[in-house]
Amino acid sequence: MQEQRPSARFRPSDLVDFAIVGSGAAGGIIAKELSTAGFTVVVLEQGPRLTETAFDHDEFGTFMRNKHANDPATQPQTFRASSADKAVPQLALIYGRLVGGSNAHFTANVWRLRPLDFNEASVHGAIEGTGFTDWPITYDDLEPYYTKVDWEIGVSGVPGPFDPRRSKPYPMPPLPVKSSGVLMDRAAEKLGLHSQPAPMAINSQYYNGRPACQHCGFCLFFMCEFRSKSTSMATMLPVAEATGRCEIRPDSYVARVEVGRDGRATGVSYFDAQKRMQMQRAKAVVVCANGGETPRLLLNSATSRFPNGLANSSGVVGKHLMFNTYFGANAQFEHPLNEYKSVQNTRIVLDFYDTDPKRGFYGGGGIDARFGKYPITFALGGLPPGSPSWGEGYARALAEQYSRSMFFGSHGTSLPVPTNSVSLDPSLKDAWGLAAARVTYKDHPDDLKNAAFLRSKAMELAEAAGALKAWPEPIAPQTNSVHLLGTCRMGNDSRTSVVDKFNRAHDVKNLFICDGSSMVTSSRGQPTMTIMALAFRAGENIASFAKRGEI
C-alpha cells in the first residue's frame, strides 16, 4: 500500500506556478489538472497525511471525538440563528481535516445536477429575501466534466429514467443491491415511483488500478482502506505527485492569501507543523478550502487595499451559505437487512427532484435507501419514539432491531439566503490566533416545508415497503452541516458574485476559488459531483489561461 511516490519538493521561497489551498474534492482535481499540464504546484493541506493503516472503523473517535475532522478545541466556531442573536461557541461547519479533505470520508453519492438546476430562478422567478439566481453556466457547459468525474475518478451506476443527457455511459455497473434497495424498489413500484441504482463513486469492479469494493460497510465518514472509494485522494493526488511537479504539503494551515502592491496574489502564508509562519510564493493561488474555510480565509486576508476581505468588493464573500436538508423516515422490518454491510445506499428515488409550484414552496430533492447508523449512533437514537431508553426492554430492542432497521433518507434544497453566512467572530480566535468562523444560519421557510414534504414521501415509501414500524426523523432548524455551499458564488456580475464562470476571482486576476463555495444553488442534497466537475472545468481553464499568459 505504501507506494513510492516521486513527489516534488519545493522550498517556500521557490516561486511555484500555483499554490493550492486544500487537498479535497476540488483541490486534488485541480492539482492533478495543473501538474499534468506542466505547471509546478504546491498543495497546502491543514490536516495530516494519513496512510491506509490509519483508516480504522472507530465510530467513537470519528463521530464523537473529531479524530479526522476539524476539532473545536483548537478551531472553535460560533453560531447564531440571526444577527439579532448572540453567537455562542458551537461547531457548525464540519469537514475532513486530512490530506484528501472531506472527500476522503464522504459517503460517495454522486448525483449530477440537471439542466433545471442551472436556470431555476429564471423558470420559477425570484424569491423574496433570497439571492436565488441562475448559474452563469449551463448543464451542457458542465456535462463533459461530469463525464470526466465518471471516468477519471470512477463512478458505478446506470442511467435512471429522469437522468440528464450523458455523453458517455458509466464506466462501471452499479454496486450489488442491498436489502434496503430491494425494499425501495418494491415500495416505489407500488407507489408508481421510480427507484434507480444510486450512482456511487465506489468501484463495483477493479478499475483504474484500484480494487472493487469489499463491502466492509465503513464508508460514511470513514476513509476507505481498500482505496475502492473513488476519492480525489485515491485517484488524483497520486497522479499529480507522479508528475514530479506537485508537492502535497500536509500540516500546513493557511492563514492568509498574500497580495502585492499591484493587487495580485503573491502566495500564501501558512503555519507549518511547528506553528512557524511560512510563506509559499506562487504566481497564482487557487483556494479550495471548502465552503466554510474558503470565505474565512478570504476575510482573514483583508488588507488596506481590500478592507472587507480579499476578492470581496461585492460584499458577498461568506454569504448565501447553504447546508442542504437531510431528514427522512426510519423503518424496521420483519427480517434482517444487515444494512451494516456494503456501501451506504444502493437505490434512490428522484421523482420529487423538480420544484413543483403546486406544492406552494420552492424546492425538490431525492430519497435514498440506507442505514446510516453505526452501533453507538443506533444505540443512542435508533429506536422509535416511546421505546425504552435503558433496561431490559432497551437491550432486547437493540439486539432485535439493529439488523432489521433502515432509513429512507430525504435530501433537499436550501435557498441562498444572504443573511446565512460565514463571517469572522469579532473576539474568538483559534489556536493559531486567527479569527474564528462565526456562522449565522436559519433555514428558509421553504427549505423546511420542502424537507417536510420529502419526509412525507419517505414515510410513504417506508410504509409501502412493508415496514413493521416507520417513524419520521424530527425536523428541526439546522445548526450545523457537512455540506458547506454557496459562500463565494460564481456569476457574471462582479457586484453580486465572487468568481466568474471559470472560477477566477472578479477582483484578483491570479486568484481562483473552487469548492462548494462556488455553487449558486444547493443541489438536491448531493453536491460533491458538481464540486468535482467544477474543479475539472476550472483546472482545465486555469491551465489554458496560464499557457496563454492570461493570468
Partner: protein
C-alpha cells in the same frame, strides 16, 4: 479469520491462473485485508482492567449501574459482559476527566438511596437487579444518569481499544458482524436479487 485466508487463497489462485486484474487486486486488497483483519481481530489484547480513576468500590457501582442500563437479556451479553466499566474508568482518567466529580457524586447518591431503602443490606451493588432498577428510575433524569447511559453505550459499542466492548461482545449482541469484507447477498430481502445476479 477464515474469510481472510479464503480471500487470499482465491486471489493467489487467480494470479497463478494469470488473471491480470487479480495481480493488481492482490497487492492492494491483500495489504488492506491484512490491516482490516488486524482490526477485526483486535479486542483479544484486552486492556488493563485495573481501575485508574475510580476506586474499586466506585467501579463496582458503575458496573452494576451500566449492567442495568444495557443488561444481559435472552442469553445475550450486555454492558457488564462487554466490560463497559473499563471504558468509563479510562475515560474519566483521560479525556472525560471533567466528569469525574459528576460520577463520584452520582455514585455516592446511588449508595445513599440504596441504604435508605427498607431492609437495606448495603450499597447499590447489594440490591437485587429489580431494586437497582427502582433506584435508577428515581435518578434517570439526572445529568449523572444521562452521562452514565451515554458511557454505557459507548463502553459497550466503541472499539475495544477504548477499554470496553471486550472481544466485540457489544457488536455480537447487536448482530453486527465486523468482517473485513462481505459478499452479496447481504440480508434477507436481497437474497433473490443477488442470486439472480
Amino acid at each position: 479469520m477464515n474469510e481472510l485466508h479464503n480471500r487470499r487463497a482465491f486471489l493467489r489462485a487467480a494470479v497463478a491462473a494469470g488473471a491480470a486484474w487479480a495481480a493488481a487486486d492482490l497487492v492492494q486488497v491483500e495489504d488492506a485485508l491484512a490491516w482490516a483483519g488486524q482490526q477485526t481481530a483486535h479486542g483479544a489484547g484486552a486492556p488493563s482492567t485495573a481501575a485508574q480513576a475510580l476506586t474499586k468500590a466506585q467501579a463496582d457501582v458503575v458496573e452494576a449501574m451500566v449492567s442495568r442500563i444495557i443488561p444481559s437479556v435472552d442469553g445475550r451479553p450486555g454492558a457488564r459482559e462487554a466490560g463497559a466499566v473499563h471504558f468509563v474508568d479510562r475515560a474519566l482518567a483521560t479525556f472525560n476527566a471533567s466528569q469525574k466529580k459528576l460520577y463520584t457524586d452520582g455514585i455516592a447518591d446511588l449508595n445513599r438511596r440504596a441504604k435508605a431503602r427498607p431492609s437495606s443490606a448495603g450499597g447499590f451493588v447489594a440490591l437485587s437487579p429489580a431494586q437497582q432498577d427502582d433506584v435508577l428510575r428515581e435518578v434517570e433524569q439526572t445529568p449523572f444518569f444521562q452521562a452514565a447511559r451515554f458511557d454505557a453505550i459507548v463502553g459497550t459499542f466503541a472499539l475495544p481499544t477504548y477499554g470496553g466492548n471486550r472481544d466485540f461482545t457489544g457488536w455480537h449482541m447487536l448482530g453486527f458482524d465486523h468482517q473485513p469484507r462481505f459478499q452479496a447477498p447481504f440480508g434477507y430481502y436481497d437474497a433473490d436479487a443477488n442470486r439472480r445476479g
